[in-house]
Amino acid sequence: MKRNIVIIGGGIAGMEAARALLDLGHTPILVEASKMLGGHVAFWHRLFPDMSSAKNLVGRLETEIAGSRILLNTKVLSLNRLADGYSLKLSNGSVVNASVLLISTGFSLFDARKKEEYGYGIYDRVITNSDLEAWFSGKRDARVPDNPESVGFVHCVGSRDLKACNAQCSKVCCATAIKQAIELKECFPYAKVYCFYMDLRFFGKKYEDFYINAQRDYGIRFIRGRVSEVGETIDGRLQLKAEDTLSGKPLKVQLDLLVLMSGIVKNDSIRELADMAGIETDSDGFLRSIDNEYAVIESNRPGIFYAGACTGPKTVPETVAEARSAALAIHSYLEKL
């Protein structure tokens, strides 16, 4: 058994846990299904609230975990429970036995096409938060016009939406919307930028400052009302319907670009992994922790720990904190074996 630690999922949760475990004298095996490390963050441009570079964060972590065994393009095909640990069959043909598993499989971004009324994939000028982030990183996107007069952000796309099978708040989208609205305003200072929201949830450190900045320094307009329908005009602009709930009137507006804040939903592959490992999923579809107050990183199985958004929507600092906490918990678990 050699007291192996296998980390499943090489996003920032898995990477930070690997880094902390290396620090504690372990050599974890990091299994990542895709061809690169960093997960969703690797595709993000800048992070809130400090606008720091996502690439730098992922790059730094990559350097720091060079001492661990990293298996890219590798999936867990099957997972067997042994008396004193777990046996994993990997897609690279190898079998690894481990005393400890750290699940850091993260989340999936809600598929915005499912909200048909917003016309993602149908109207040319509708993009998602993820598309916009890629555009900020320099990827060309014909859907982003050269000089938009007006841009809208729709909060809660696939979040807090029973029809989208996700009743939960995705936590990060309000702050992301403001971050992106500010960045867009920096690119197009003359554009009118509207945020359509149900509630604004700025719970994190400095998020409220971010909001005030957006209002005061960037003139971003916040409309409390959920967009109910998007159509396309003859000149290819978008026409939105919402309610201006603060004035109690229906509202319409034409926009040159609409950004959908796709929410955080459970990683689709999680169910299979949970079944193989004998761990449970919660009513929200994410992995079930022993409790949601004191033991979020612990599963119902000995030797299986969680870090990051596999248990629910998390911000970057929360994910990083959980990863360190999981590394420490794993360290003491192994000490006691």
Partner: protein, 360 residues
């Protein structure tokens, strides 16, 4: 598509909302009002399906209203509507049919709603079965398939295209005609999965338009209600809402210069047609070319034109908005002097023509 939107995106949605439509043996029930509004449409449906396509379409004179209008106007409780519907199903069962096809959109919605309610509350279904037995000693099987008559025409659209005498194409220029499709609210808004193409981008009429050579116009207020909304039109004090909703749609479609509008609901074509006259009277505004309105057709009338039926046999002379500009574009031959000749060449009299909107 007369718009910049991404066609593949729509196709993906359409592929997700396909329903199983059996190819034959349908029990057909007419609408309460369509024969008054568009007298030849239901006749054309049976004509095309039976005589052109050779399908088994069964009707019985014992069929009554489904109660949908009264239910939607809040004048009868749902249980009463359910018992009426149970009797229709009993008639279908007695005739030996399993596939139920209403001609009315509100009926279709009513049937879909009742079947879904019974699925969720079987005890209610049991109660309705008891009501029906007490009332008229009938029993019923639930339909195996429920499809609106526009679903059937959609299903057979390519067979109709193969027999087409005219295309939805401007015979002079060869350009496809720009057609607005308007779907009755009760078709899929309540149950998106029950409609071909779903509720946001329904394909049922768009499919016909494409198959018959036309171009679908997607304008911002495409999904907006025509404004009929029983309680709105039927109560005179509320008629402003009805008119204003139609006005909103016309204002939104105006820049696209549609050649025609096609609908699949009893009320929508009536109001999209008649309100054009009222808007012209009140606002002095018309939406067609040269002071005409935009012709509004039912899908049966459109199918009839495509198949080469005489426009006056299709009842198009009973429309408020003159259809002649559309007939001319399509290259449909018609006899202007026969417009107001009814069955057996009997003179059905000429209507008084308004000055505000051009008519023939």
């Amino acid at each position: 598509m007369l718009c910049k939107m991404i066609y593949e995106g729509k196709q993906k949605i359409w592929s997700e909302y396909q329903k199983d439509i059996p190819d034959d043996k349908w029990y057909y029930v007419r609408s309460c009002i369509r024969q008054n509004f568009f007298p030849a449409s239901e006749k054309m449906f049976t004509e095309i399906t039976r005589n052109v396509l050779g399908k088994d379409i069964y009707e019985t004179p014992h069929h009554t209203t489904c109660g949908g209008i009264a239910y939607h106007c809040d004048t009868i409780p749902q249980e009463t509507a359910m018992t009426i519907v149970a009797r229709q199903f009993a008639l279908m069962t007695e005739a030996g049919y399993e596939n139920y096809c209403p001609s009315c959109i509100t009926s279709f919605g009513n049937y879909a709603e009742i079947l879904e309610t019974w699925r969720q509350y079987p005890e209610l279904e049991a109660k309705i079965r008891e009501n029906l037995w007490k009332a008229c000693r009938r029993e019923f099987e639930k339909p195996r398939h429920l499809a609106h008559s526009s679903d059937l025409i959609y299903h057979w659209r390519n067979e109709i295209a193969a027999k087409a005498r005219h295309k939805l194409v401007n015979a002079g220029t060869g350009e496809p005609l720009r057609i607005v499709e308007h779907i009755g609210c009760h078709y899929a808004k309540m149950f998106p999965s029950k409609g071909v193409g779903g509720a946001e981008y329904p394909y049922v009429l768009a499919g016909m338009i494409e198959s018959w050579g036309g171009q679908v116009v997607d304008y911002p207020e495409r999904r907006h209600c025509c404004g009929y909304g029983f309680r709105q039109y039927h109560v005179k004090a509320n008629r402003s809402y009805s008119l204003s909703n139609t006005y909103k749609k016309f204002e939104s479609m105006e820049p696209f210069h549609p050649d025609a509008i096609v609908t699949n609901c009893p009320g929508c074509p009536y109001f999209l047609d008649r309100w054009q006259y009222v808007i012209a009277e009140q606002m002095g505004k018309t939406y067609g070319e040269n002071g005409f309105g935009i012709p509004v057709l039912t899908y049966e009338e459109m199918a009839g034109l495509v198949l080469g039926y005489d426009p006056w046999d299709l009842g198009l002379q009973l429309h408020q908005v003159a259809v002649e500009p559309l007939l001319d574009k399509m290259g449909v031959k018609y006899d202007p002097s026969a417009k107001y000749l009814g069955l057996n060449c009997e003179d059905i009299m000429r209507p008084e023509l308004p000055g505000s909107i051009k008519c023939f």
